[in-house]
Subunit: 359 residues, 2 copies
């Protein structure tokens, strides 16, 4: 059956979130590794890079100055770093070459290194001083979903423990348990809504996802999943950047998905939404801003939780939509078009990975 693996990934999120409020020894052990760090670099590729972006905000809030860098760029242009500058290296498989290389180089330089991965037997886990591993292991679908949320949970838990160790405030991180209480109802409503929206906008020429702060990472992650699952043009925009030129590519009939979460970005959300609507884009608002929800063509209402933990929920309606859009377009969301020779060849040519045997 088409899409069963991606759906299973999304359906595993409630189980992941149920563990988010706990205080297991591994987060505390990892926090101890970072206790004396003067700054932290976070690296990853793809969804792991977007997870790193969310976590960067949390480490800043914990008083540890972060820098988030795409792992290939980090390999080519490593920033000046002293022995007290920590590294958090993120890879679902633990085999993304540049992430593993970053961990090895930092460890060799005597820097504190934490890995976040779903394979405890991976080269990445071996290279790091401490690895936060999701014991559920790797996901079967090519578009990963559970892994993204699970990476956030492990990283946010680490940031929370670090803040406690360092005596920083890190407001909102104490609410890590709250999303679990909402995820069941959210997913129950999201699947049928996603099927409806995918049907309504099956032929949109483009899908834009707009967000600010940590929700900019959600926008990038949601757009990537829409592309991976449904093989369509989808892009994530930082909400203020939308006003600096990119919006000119907007056309009537495309779908703009706006993440309207929290107080800080209310004004930016509302003016972006108004601008895109003026051009004739269809709009879908996901969030807690009643005014924005009322103004949009489609609305997904989320609970108003503290900003740092909202990314644990905001990606989910986008995952459901990506999955349903693929099915509606006659594609299997699990395979990223690897059932077609051209796309299979493209992936084979472009993709690098470290094999287990070689390590």
């Amino acid at each position: 059956m088409s899409g069963v693996h991606m759906r299973a990934g999304v359906e595993a999120v409630p189980e992941v979130l149920a563990e988010a409020g706990e205080r297991p020894e591994d987060a505390r052990t990892a926090a101890a590794v970072l206790a004396g760090a003067s700054a932290v670099d976070l690296v990853g590729c793809g969804s792991s890079l977007f997870a790193a972006a969310v976590l960067g905000y949390a480490f800043d809030a914990a008083g540890l100055r972060s820098r988030v860098t795409e792992a290939y760029e980090y390999a080519g242009y490593p920033p000046p770093a002293g022995p007290a500058d920590a590294l958090i290296a993120i890879s679902h498989t633990g085999r993304t070459p540049d992430v593993v290389a970053a961990a090895r180089a930092a460890a060799a330089a005597g820097r504190p290194v934490i890995a976040i991965t779903d394979d405890g037997a991976s080269p990445l886990a071996a290279a790091a001083g401490y690895a936060l591993v999701d014991e559920r292991g790797m996901e079967s679908a090519l578009p990963k979903t559970r892994s993204y949320v699970s990476t956030l949970v492990r990283g946010l838990r680490l940031a929370r423990e670090l803040a406690a160790l360092r005596g920083a405030a890190a407001p909102g991180l104490d609410a890590l348990a709250e999303p679990a209480g909402h995820v069941g109802a959210l997913l129950a409503a999201a699947w049928p809504q996603a099927a409806d929206l995918a049907d309504r906008w099956a032929d949109a020429p483009r899908y834009v996802v707009v967000g600010a702060g940590p929700e900019h990472a959600t926008a990038l992650e949601g757009a990537l999943k829409i592309t991976e699952a449904a093989s369509v043009y989808a892009v994530g925009w930082q909400i203020e950047e939308a006003a600096h030129g990119t919006w000119v590519s907007t056309r009537a009939g495309e779908l703009a998905i706006v993440l309207a979460v929290g107080e800080r970005d209310r004004d930016a959300v509302r003016r972006t939404l108004a601008g895109l609507r003026a051009i004739g884009a269809a709009t879908w608002v996901i969030g807690d801003d009643e005014e924005a929800l009322a103004a949009a063509d489609a609305a997904t209402r989320l609970p108003a939780l503290p900003a740092p933990v909202m990314p644990l929920l905001t990606a989910l309606p986008l995952y459901c939509f990506a999955h349903q859009l693929a099915l509606g377009r006659g594609l299997d969301p699990d395979v990223m078009r690897q059932d077609e020779p051209r796309y299979r060849e493209a992936r084979t040519v472009m993709r690098r990975s470290i094999s287990t045997a070689a390590n």
Copy 2:
């Protein structure tokens, strides 16, 4: 005449580059402000953000750990920063609200602040400890081009002086004068080639620009200008990220523009090019890699200069293409579709700026 202002911006670049090799007092004065800095934040929006990204590499190379942040995000989530953490705030007009706010906040905290702007009478220049101003003033076209290159020149010159002050190597920055010797021939060839390419790919469903390192910033800048001038879908991809999912949105008939510059990214460039070609995208290679140039549907050969100064040239063929594509599609590249009510309304609703009077 349509597009005369944007064309004038591009045509002013040789004059800007002719000054790049000089060692004026202002760069040395600004470098002295940064001499004791422990790290540097760079902020901007739109093209200024992409310029900040290029400059971040140069400051890292000068031994000063950089962090590049979109200015609206910086306003909402300022990273932990001590009094020795400098700020470089970039805005063409000197009136981008979040850039000005960042400069004011950092100055109030006693941090070293450098502004890069084209208006010496702007609120940004007033807020900064020292301003590097392009005395040519502001550009008339809505899509800025000269300003981007000029920002790079001023910022790279500052990084060069800082490296000298700190005794860092900063390889390649000593080649700042070299692009000036190539820009005349480059532009003379770029305009007719751009007209030809714009004609060939006038109806492509999307334009993708792919680059690595500082050329990722060029890719983002080039894609933005294509969108701003020609009102079409254009996106900039980091080259390794292309292999992590975004490529699945590629379709036969679209144009992928690949920046193939320097030794480090040769392998990534060639496999990305091969992958996109496998799917059926048309390809245009801009760079110095003969193998990549030979494999593409169109080729723009650039001189092989040191990586830090290449961004002074790589944007230019993209600027010419954006301009010609707009004309070919019957649009005025100067106005960002502000001659159409829907787009004018969208910009009015979305855009914020600080007026001179208020400051």
